[in-house]
Symmetry: C2
């Protein structure tokens, strides 16, 4: 530890990003546009206004503007929990005996416990600015719902959360956190929406899925005056807001003249990975620098590594626009034994295009290995990671051990998106040896892919 | 917000404390010594060595040395999560419409979720240095057990935790966090100790108490070669380690020329309050400054406000030394409906002496008001506070509202000791209107005080 680099690199307030970075501005091949699910025509801004806030629609469709200034109200909120620390994992390096230098950007240091708050506060702000009464959304594990509840409470907006029923029942504490922030939480599918009734009729006793909950939240938003729908991942606007992660990371690294070789992020819908890599990817696209950029996904939900790049439905009820993305098919639901999160069938259109163009690679990892890495990390670094984040930990450790073999002193940066306080049921399973891995068969994936919309 | 004071004041690594401050060195009336429970003779260092680590015994008994240098290994660990932020509660001030300036020192930004880690890592370090195999301890709500598990994992020490049975059953997630860090967790009272068997025989079906768990942990420590007992509150050594909270707070305030008028901390055994106020109390004792120092306790466990200053047992099994302290009697257990923590019958000897000498005051607050303050705080400041910490929030808000009436621009500093992620059952009760307050009757307190040891 002869270096002058502190354990945690914090930025001063004046070093913090004042604008979000739009990685699409640097892409030659732009992400494919959203299509109307009925007509297959390109969705215009006007088509999207009934669903999303106007300002957010503009951000969604704008693939040329390089920087979007962050409104002062959002900057003020960011100051309450940002900058997040960029931590040098000295203890982990020592434990592994690797010559690699490992850094992680820790986004769990806020009550929502994850990076989701970065976009939640932005979306709540624009909803308030538009004079709306409230917003609707879905949540699975609950990180997004928690973040949005906090953000809505801050701007005095009503917040209606549709929570996947199995999580609603298994994660009562997540639910209570949302209630603490004043949100109403409905288990999905519910009898409060038409699409919910339809789904319950077709599948009585279903425990729900993210796709169902999206359909319900959209229905309520469109049908309730003064409400709009908001989403915590997948969308371009979300990646834009999450670029604050990457911008801070880059500023902190630049401050000490550190150049990363490998940048690793977990990928469900792509919100964290897209945000973390944005400014680095911008350099790579402009040919100014080269980075090995790695998306990590679970073997039980392998959108990048085993999915197809195609237009698909974003939700089960098929009420949302079609998006072109790496997808396993909108019917695909990871096996019930999957506890590791990242269970969305598709992937951000922006990341899908970048992956398809060869600017990043993807690996998939089994969940028992992910929890083993999580526990190893917790014991030396003192942070209890969320299962989702631990996918990135697993691959960072693998890369560091590879450096140990080759003697390379690579600099590895990974995103630690959140904490695992509400995931102790999964940890318990792991401790008790009751956790299993699940690898979908080719037939299973082919079956759900066979239901892709005919274009 | 015209001032140049940031939302969060962080210290640089070179501004962080390098030594713990021993407030006893400034006290004219020293805290009364520990006594042998059988003979009532003053306990010497040699008497205490079978129970506690040697270095810690020295710290326990030393009331003259002003500063104890923090060993480098501990400084390195502190760097992983310290300095903790001193936050200006701009949003809370605005919501209250108060001219008061409110600051809080937030100790929840580490996986243990509370300030307990500050002493846990120190106690684990000295145990390791002495060549011990492991340590034993008790935990109630689980903050201390979690912190100690983390610390022991870091130094590769075995950690045996006796967890009050009712918490063990109601807080399975806390238990899993401890297991993640490799600790063994036994519900107390248990059949693994003589004192546990005795208690279970006398009270079959008991759900345990902190006092029982202490007795069991001490028995195992004394009876197992290579083991010692460690405790997360009450003791002088704990206040010494926790002085890092106050030293950082003072350094951060001094950095911006801020002088607090009121300093508020919640008080169960006194670890947080004692640590927070140490350097300020030092100034006050030397006549260099005056501060209004306030201890906040629950009305259902009012050691300071309704207890007696007397020698008492520290544990139910009466195996520990006697301590002179404000106490409700070692038989006293708060009503079962009490969810707000801070349930120890006694109080730190150091704080008890300072309180008795008039250097600080104490107030007691009912838990429904505490949870209402917690929720109000969460919604504007974005941190989900632990019930214990929320006692300080409640009184800080009360003081700020008093300033609103009088127009005084007082500067209020309070300790926000931890997060409430594992207390959602209590929050749920509060949300559902099922939380009740309990005020013990005079007869109840008189009854448990009647069992004080005859001196």
């Amino acid at each position: 530890m002869a270096e002058k680099i502190p354990y945690k690199i914090y930025l001063n307030e004046d070093e913090m990003p004042k604008a979000w970075y739009n990685v699409r501005s640097a892409m030659k091949n732009k992400p494919a546009p959203l299509l109307n699910p009925g007509t297959h025509e390109v969705m215009s801004a006007e088509d999207l206004y009934p669903v999303f806030c106007e300002e957010l629609v503009k951000q969604e469709l704008d693939d040329t503007t390089e920087f979007f200034p962050i409104p002062e109200e959002i900057l003020n909120f960011y100051k309450m929990y940002r900058p997040s620390p960029l931590v040098r994992a000295y203890c982990l390096e020592q434990k592994l005996g690797t010559p690699a230098k490992i850094y992680y950007k820790f986004e769990g240091n806020n009550t929502s416990g994850s990076h989701k708050l970065n976009s939640a506060i932005a979306q709540a702000y624009y909803a308030k600015k538009q004079g709306l009464k409230g917003v609707t959304t879905e949540t699975g594990a609950g990180q997004w719902g928690t973040a949005l509840s906090m953000a809505c409470s801050y701007f005095d907006l009503d917040c209606k959360v549709f929570m996947v029923k199995v999580s609603y029942e298994q994660k009562p504490f997540r639910r209570e956190v949302m209630r603490t922030y004043g949100a109403s939480v409905t288990p999905s599918p519910s009898m409060t929406t038409e699409v919910g009734k339809r789904i319950l009729e077709a599948h009585p006793g279903t425990t729900g899925s993210l796709g169902c909950a999206i359909s319900e939240a959209v229905e309520v938003a469109v049908g309730t005056p003064g409400y709009r729908y908001v989403l915590g991942s997948v969308l371009n606007q979300v990646l834009l807001h999450q670029s604050v992660i990457g911008l801070e990371t880059k500023a902190a690294l630049d401050k000490y003249g550190i150049k990363p070789d490998i940048i690793i992020g977990c990928a469900g819908g792509g919100s964290n990975l897209g945000g973390l890599i944005s400014p680095f990817m911008g350099e790579k696209l402009r040919g100014e620098a080269d980075y090995d950029i790695v998306a990590v996904e679970p073997v039980s939900c392998p959108s990048f590594t085993r999915g197809k790049y195609a237009y698909d439905f974003c939700d089960t009820g098929m009420v949302c626009p079609l998006a072109k993305m790496y997808t396993l098919g909108s019917d695909y639901i990871p096996a019930p034994n999957h506890a590791g999160g990242l269970r969305y069938h598709g992937m951000s259109s922006t990341l899908s295009q970048l992956y398809d163009d060869g600017y990043m690679r993807a690996v998939s990892v089994p969940q028992t290995a992910v929890f083993a890495a999580a526990e190893q990390f917790a014991r030396v670094e003192g942070i209890l990671p969320a299962p989702e984040s631990s996918h990135a930990i697993k691959v960072a450790i693998d890369e560091a051990l590879r450096c140990k073999e080759t003697g390379e002193e690579k600099t590895i940066v990974f995103g630690l998106t959140g904490t695992g306080y509400f995931d102790m049921v999964a940890y318990e399973k792991f401790h008790d040896g009751k956790m299993e891995d699940y690898v979908p068969t080719d037939e299973e994936i082919a079956k759900s892919l066979s239901k892709l919309p005919k274009m």
